[in-house]
Symmetry: C2
Subunit: 399 residues, 2 copies
């Protein structure tokens, strides 16, 4: 009954999701307090109280027929217009309501876009390490994921390698900054160099879509800033989700913003509308859309994540574990002291520490620590990290 | 930038959605009161007040971290368990929580299921007329839609034709009762005959999934009842949405219920979980899931739709237009008095009457009237229908 591909995916699984399920089991066995689950990018900050009030206000004041009814597949006009205005102010690009497509989170948005642009065997270039689900999304439409190699320890894309990896079949490049899993924020010069490469192909007639997957754009520290990409390249599509900034990952609300001057724009806007429908999303959930109208200007307070980041860095420093100091998102990338990052994660699990192997992000030899947890969990994990580092030293020494 | 297939879909479009957009334009030009928009299955009854209260109660009482956070891709355990209990009572089949997968409406559910089971070139059999989007859903996964011909005027499936249309590549059959677009409710004997056919193939080793798409199952009139299918065939998957019964089409909430004894059940349950994630749904919206916990026992009052149905039938009778008297859903199927149903809909549009051609449902020569509108719209449409009938008589007479 079940496809071969799906059977393979079931057995290979999502490393992240497998850890998530395992974490719940460990918590039942050892008590939640004694399990240090750094596996999932599930925000530890509750949604702002203003979000709750906005939901309630919408429910109290909107006509239920409009609130819960069908709208255009791309979303409510007023919501799209409000987001376009806000994004125009931020990016200095004149988005219109019609350039914004409301989506079932960033994952939904990316699928809508890829369905719209990928012919079978078209290629999509990503920079390792990258969010592992990109591979599935691309393969959903018969596309081929092409990896640029990771560049530790800075983990910045290499524009020369990008140029070399682009083929006549390249339809899109995905950029994700602040980055999952490294927490690295690409500097402006890095983004500009990527855009220059794409512009050079454009000058030769190849229009490549630059997908800016930016669910973490507000989660930045140490004065870092996520550079808006659209002003630098007209074939940019912003893929956004409110999962992280408003702590709403379960609510599945985000958007695509297509550059107003994107190549083939009329067809692409129509295609995204159609793709939203035919993929079975139909539209982004309506209540969540209307809530947003009241929450677009909410300040995003990342100080708790920043505190976590500092505390975790201190713990890792004390253990002598090597890592990339993150400037964004809520992930931290640690070099595995064992050659095999999966073996390292298994060893960590024996200390009730749940980490995710970098292999799942196209970067063997490293592991991801998601520090969107309580400060208490971080503090209590210090001894476990210390034991883990000692145990790894023993294992390595024994060889 | 945009795929060939998508370009074709943009130009062919969804007849229903095109009408919906056109209706909004006509309403702006002539005033909403003077446009009779029978195009979209958008419930005209507001969601019950209890739904609003449930949403507010959830927002007031649930921990926001749990309420808005990630859960298992298949949904919250408590919600799945509650639905399983309720469905078990209704169907007499012992569903467990793990048999229920929460989905982004029935459209999302169907995509999750088809992604799980269809290898390229696998076939899915449908009975015309059928919801036109099925074709897209099947083709999303490289499948081939195989139509059984419509049988006017009763529009019931012919089990003999079903048997003849099943090939070694047949993976699934879709049944939709109460039916969109005809409003016909398949009698129990008809369903039993379909199941008998599938059982005979099962006895020969071919496990065919029977997808029961039943978003309209509570919308029945004249004492008709939607027959539960699962007790008759173990490879049944119920595909449900709360869009129609609770008037929440924009909220995108529904479920798949896999028969506990379905072939390859363990793998199929896992596959649906994985498919929910890799297709970019990730999970059904969490707030909508939790709301359901408080609304599963709400009585569904269809009396307003029943009143509409009667009033519309009277109007059509008075005009001499032939139709199938519907016993379910909120659609009525009218025989086009012109040979070309698209030409008939164009003619209707000149009277500001928006109908949808049956061609889009695999049934040329008929048109769909969605009577989920206000009684006022139905009453006011009487003259327009009368003028339409006269105009068609003139056109036919002039030939």
């Amino acid at each position: 009954m079940v496809t071969r591909q799906m059977r393979q995916w079931i057995s290979s699984g999502s490393a992240i999701r497998a850890m998530f399920e395992e974490g719940k089991q460990l918590a039942r066995r050892y008590g939640a307090d004694n399990v240090y689950d750094f596996s999932l990018g599930n925000p530890s900050l509750p949604a702002p109280e203003a979000v709750r009030e906005a939901f309630c206000d919408v429910l109290r004041t909107c006509d239920p027929l409009e609130l819960h009814g069908y709208m255009s597949n791309s979303g409510y006009d007023d919501v799209r217009a409000a987001i376009a205005r806000r994004l125009s102010e931020r990016d200095g690009v004149a988005y219109r309501a019609c350039d914004v497509v409301m989506t079932v989170g960033a994952a939904g948005g990316m699928n809508v876009l890829l369905k719209s642009i990928l012919e079978p065997s078209d290629e999509v270039v990503v920079f390792a390490p990258y969010f592992g689900e990109y591979r599935r999304y691309v393969e959903n439409y018969g596309g081929i994921l092409v990896e640029c190699a990771p560049n530790p320890p800075a983990f910045l894309p290499d524009p020369k390698e990008l140029a070399a990896k682009i083929s006549p079949r390249t339809k899109a490049v995905i950029v994700n900054t602040p980055n999952n899993p490294t927490g690295v924020v690409y500097p402006r010069a890095c983004i500009a160099a990527i855009c220059d490469v794409l512009q050079s192909f454009r000058a030769r007639g190849q229009e490549i879509c630059l997908i800016s997957d930016e669910p973490y754009r507000e989660l930045v520290y140490d004065g870092a800033q996520a550079t808006p990409i659209a002003p630098l390249y007209p074939n940019t599509v912003v893929c956004y989700s409110y999962s992280k900034s408003l702590s709403l990952p379960g609510e599945r609300i985000g958007y695509l913003a297509l550059h107003p001057e994107i190549a083939d724009g009329d067809a692409l806007r129509d295609a995204c509308n159609v793709a939203t429908r035919v993929l079975g999303f139909v539209n982004a959930p309506s209540l969540q859309q209307k809530m947003l109208l009241r929450c677009l200007d909410l300040p995003i307070d990342v100080s708790a994540y920043d505190d976590n980041r500092r505390a975790l860095c201190e713990i890792l420093d004390a253990c002598g574990l090597e890592y990339v100091k993150p400037q964004g998102a809520f992930y931290l990338f640690v070099r595995s002291p064992l050659a095999d990052d999966r073996a390292f994660c298994e060893t960590a699990k024996r200390e009730n520490l749940l980490l995710v192997p970098g292999s799942g992000f196209g970067c063997a030899g490293w592991v991801r620590v998601a520090y969107c947890v309580s400060m208490r969990t971080i503090r209590r994990s210090a001894d476990a990290f210390a034991r883990l580092a000692r145990r790894c030293a023993e294992i390595s020494g024994a060889r």
